[in-house]
């Protein structure tokens, strides 16, 4: 066994950090877009109108039974077909993540909305609010506050999931490390480094979300 050469990390730091930056960009798009679409789908899952409820339920159940990799491939094929021209790895990865994570966010949102008592809804209606305003000003803000710990946990999951964009060749953090590895043959050092960086970020985020949850428990 030859010795380790950790110098490979500082030597390629700029390239690796560029990959990490792409990972953050993708995670940001996936979390914000997924949450936004997830709120809509989550509300649709609670609708009493059948043509809204059934498609939303079908969407959530299908998405949750497929591996993320497959969904990434789906949009890798579909996005250029729908757009009519090649759109690039990053764009199709963004679409895939927003659509896929929306299904998971939708379930969190649905549970959050269901945790708000129906009295709130009735009170809002009797004050003269319509459905849209009730949701917009009364239910969603309270529900979101209840959902914060679950949403943070899911955000950590999404952040980890972005590593799967590797499969379509997107130069995110993991792909950057594997490119450096192909040139430098330093697998142990590189993958240990990637693992450590992911660990620090995710550990900090999940500790933060646990702290929030504990605080809510006392309130």
């Amino acid at each position: 066994m030859d010795g380790y050469d950790w110098q490979v990390i500082p030597n390629n730091l700029q390239f690796l950090m560029h990959g990490l930056f792409t990972t953050f960009q993708l995670a940001l798009v996936a979390i914000s877009g997924g949450l936004l679409l997830g709120i809509l789908v989550g509300m649709a899952r609670l609708s009493s109108i059948r043509i809204i409820y059934y498609p939303a339920t079908a969407f959530v159940n299908v998405m949750r039974s497929l591996p993320l990799i497959l969904v990434i491939f789906w949009f890798y094929f579909l996005v250029p077909l729908m757009a009519g021209r090649p759109m690039g790895d990053f764009f199709s990865a963004c679409v895939a993540f927003v659509v896929f994570e929306a299904a998971y966010f939708a379930e969190i949102v649905r549970a959050g909305i269901q945790s708000i008592s129906t009295g709130q809804m009735q009170a809002a209606y009797s004050t003269g609010f319509n459905y849209r305003d009730t949701m917009r000003y009364i239910i969603i803000p309270q529900a979101l506050r209840n959902m914060v710990p679950s949403l943070l946990t899911q955000a950590v999951v999404v952040f980890q999931d972005t590593s799967l964009a590797y499969v379509i060749g997107l130069k995110e953090f993991l792909r950057s490390a594997s490119i450096v590895d192909a040139r430098e043959m330093r697998s142990v050092e590189l993958y240990a480094f990637v693992g450590a960086v992911y660990f620090l970020i995710c550990f900090a985020m999940s500790k933060f979300s646990k702290k929030l949850e504990a605080k809510r428990g006392h309130a």
Binding site: P67, L81, S163, L174
Partner: protein, 242 residues
Amino acid sequence: MLSYNFNWSIIWTAPYGQWMLEGLWVTIRLGLICWFIALALGIIIGTFRVTPFRPLRVFGAVYTEIFRDIPLLVQLFFWYFAAPSILPKSIEMWLYRGLPNSEFWIVVVGLSIYTSSRIAEHIRAGMQSISQDQYHAALSTGFTHFQTYRYIIIPYAVRIMMPPLTAECLTVFKNTALAMTVGVLETTFMSQQIEAYTFQGIEATTAASLIYMGISLSVVLIMGFVERRLAVPGLITRAGGR
């Protein structure tokens, strides 16, 4: 829209139809092996986390935090590309040259450990939800700590944990798709190989999607059956129907 010529027969014509079936078989084997190893490991680690013995608790906590907070794909790459070179040269050679299907077994290691850390969290939560009186009653009846866990706590906890375990079982089968990145010829790998040979990506990916949906449905049905068989009448019921 760009033009795309559908040719659905690609899914069942030779040799592509057979590729998909071979992929399905690998997915099922990989999923089942990892599920049972992860379940056993997860129960052990989860139990560690609630024992009165501090070093075991610390070990359990470190184990779950490390394997839960690193993406599965990064872990697989570590096990596949980096870990063998840490081992003695002879074992490394055996892994790469001697062991047939070594990538399959390396994924078994990675996916089982990753899943066990998630299962351990569910087990811990389940055991903590069991009233302290059960422990005291068991201990005062003369059970040892081991017997208390083996005969009283774990059988209860596993029942309470059935719904999250069902979700975890679904996740294992979905996560087997990541094995394609290290060259295991499972369902997703096969579908992408058909795409590479025929350019019929939509058909091949549809076939793979249907396979995963079928697997998910089967898991839900089987776990539902197990849950009904294990249920203790009047004692523990699932909160709310699904």
